[in-house]
């Protein structure tokens, strides 16, 4: 069993899972009906992608378990999502930050979707066939997320005084969390080259920010990191408490 492969897949799963949860908080609270539906549709796509990654890692872990060389208990997509602790979660920090307002939600989706698109492009060519298949499937969905979030960044940035100011604030809040995208975790080495994704990401992001009349942030600001290694902000614990409460309190509950 390759521990690094499992960690890498869990990182992809956790990142999609946590962002899906954050976006789903907008359900029935979106600024207008169509956009409420859009953000929850994106949430559903991300959750579906997370499930594919959780299922794949559960398969690898269980196959290894059956070969009898490990004490790891059998796992499932549910146990991986509901029964791991905060320090086990490997999601990117940006995904666990609170939604704050529509501007921050949109901008986060935009910054992440552009990154995710590049990541899936590379992963489609992975020699690991199941990972390549998930990437091939998911990138079609991400294409819509990129388009939708880019349009909204432009609309809000180049919008009213109020929407522009909110976008600027969101950019200040979120930018220091984008550095983590491109810092490889130990377990990513040999599986993905995140450093190679940076140039394209910067170009695409700057092009949209410019159209949105938003000042492009300096690349040299302090960048937070640690999510990929399980060192999270205080936000993740609260999220997991809410998400895992039922399975922790009533183990194995189904309905």
């Amino acid at each position: 069993m390759s521990k690094t492969l499992i960690d890498f897949i869990l990182q992809l799963a956790d990142t999609n899972f946590i962002l899906a949860q954050r976006n789903s908080e907008w359900c029935a609270h979106g600024p207008i009906l169509e956009q409420d539906i859009a953000i929850t549709n994106i949430s559903l796509d991300l959750l579906g992608q997370a499930r594919n990654f959780y299922q794949y890692s559960a398969n690898i872990i269980n196959t290894h378990k059956e070969s009898g060389t490990s004490e790891i208990p059998r796992v499932s997509e549910d146990s991986l999502a509901y029964l791991r602790t905060e320090r086990d979660f490997k999601n990117l920090l940006i995904c666990e930050l609170p939604n704050e307002d529509w501007a921050q939600t949109i901008l986060r989706q935009f910054l992440y979707s552009i990154f995710q698109f590049g990541l899936y492009e590379q992963l489609q060519k992975s020699i690991d066939a199941p990972l390549a298949a998930i990437a091939e499937k998911s990138i079609k969905e991400t294409t819509y997320h990129v388009k939708w979030s880019s349009e909204w960044v432009i609309r809000l940035g180049d919008g009213t005084e109020e929407s522009h100011a909110r976008m600027e604030r969101a950019l200040q809040n979120l930018w220091p969390y984008t550095g983590e995208f491109f810092i490889p975790a130990d377990y990513e080495k040999g599986l993905i080259d995140v450093v190679a994704l940076k140039k394209n990401w910067i170009e695409k992001v700057y092009a949209v920010l410019m159209e949105a009349t938003l000042q492009k942030p300096a690349e040299s600001v302090y960048m937070h990191r640690g999510g990929k290694e399980g060192a999270h902000t205080e936000n993740l614990g609260f999220m997991l408490a809410e998400m895992q409460y039922l399975q922790r309190t009533y183990p194995g509950a189904t309905w």
Binding site: E34, Q35, I37, A38, N41, I42, L44, D45, L46, L47, G48, Q49, R51, N52, A129, P130, A132, A133, I134, E136, K137, S138, K140, E141, Y144, K147, W148
Partner: protein
């Protein structure tokens, strides 16, 4: 001499049964119209049907797997497995022509072929091409929301995917 009994089912019979399994979100479409059935494998009395998801998070997939099992069970065959295949990824190009007609009659504009670069979406009510996109995301993952500028009716467009 053994004669054909109810214990033997042919691949053709299964394809016919699958024609009766509908998409729970768009009930005018069978899963064959949708183009999500990848293959059927029969080994002795074991039947394996592989399907491909339309969207990663589509909640209809679990319902469809269950409906396939129920449909075949109704005909007395118990050993059924429905497996999910991700690659090659599903595309709306696999939707049948008759499926597209059924969609249109149902009031949903059918998807264009992926190599068709036009952006015109025809109103399924009045057939005007003077329509506008309201939202890339509609009532389900597979649909976008449009409005006809002539008859003013909003309508769903099954997204090219």
């Amino acid at each position: 001499m053994p004669t054909e009994t109810q214990h033997i089912i042919t691949e053709k019979q299964i394809w016919n049964l699958l024609e009766e399994v509908c998409d729970p979100e768009v009930p005018v479409l069978s899963i064959l119209d949708l183009g999500i059935v990848r293959g059927i494998k029969i080994v002795d009395d074991a039947i394996e049907i592989s399907i491909t998801p339309t969207y990663s998070g589509c909640p209809a997939m679990d319902a469809i797997s269950m409906d396939i099992k129920m449909k075949i069970l109704e005909h007395g065959f118990k050993n059924i497995k429905v497996s999910h295949v991700l690659s090659p990824a599903w595309t709306t190009d696999w939707m049948t022509e008759s499926g597209k007609h059924k969609l249109k009659d149902y009031g949903i504009a059918p998807p264009r072929l992926s190599n068709d670069k036009s952006t015109v979406v025809e109103c399924p009510q009045c057939h005007s091409t003077n329509t506008k996109l309201l939202s890339q995301f509609g009532s389900t993952a597979c649909k976008a929301l449009y409005q006809c500028e002539d008859c003013k009716e909003p309508f769903d467009y099954f997204k090219c995917h």
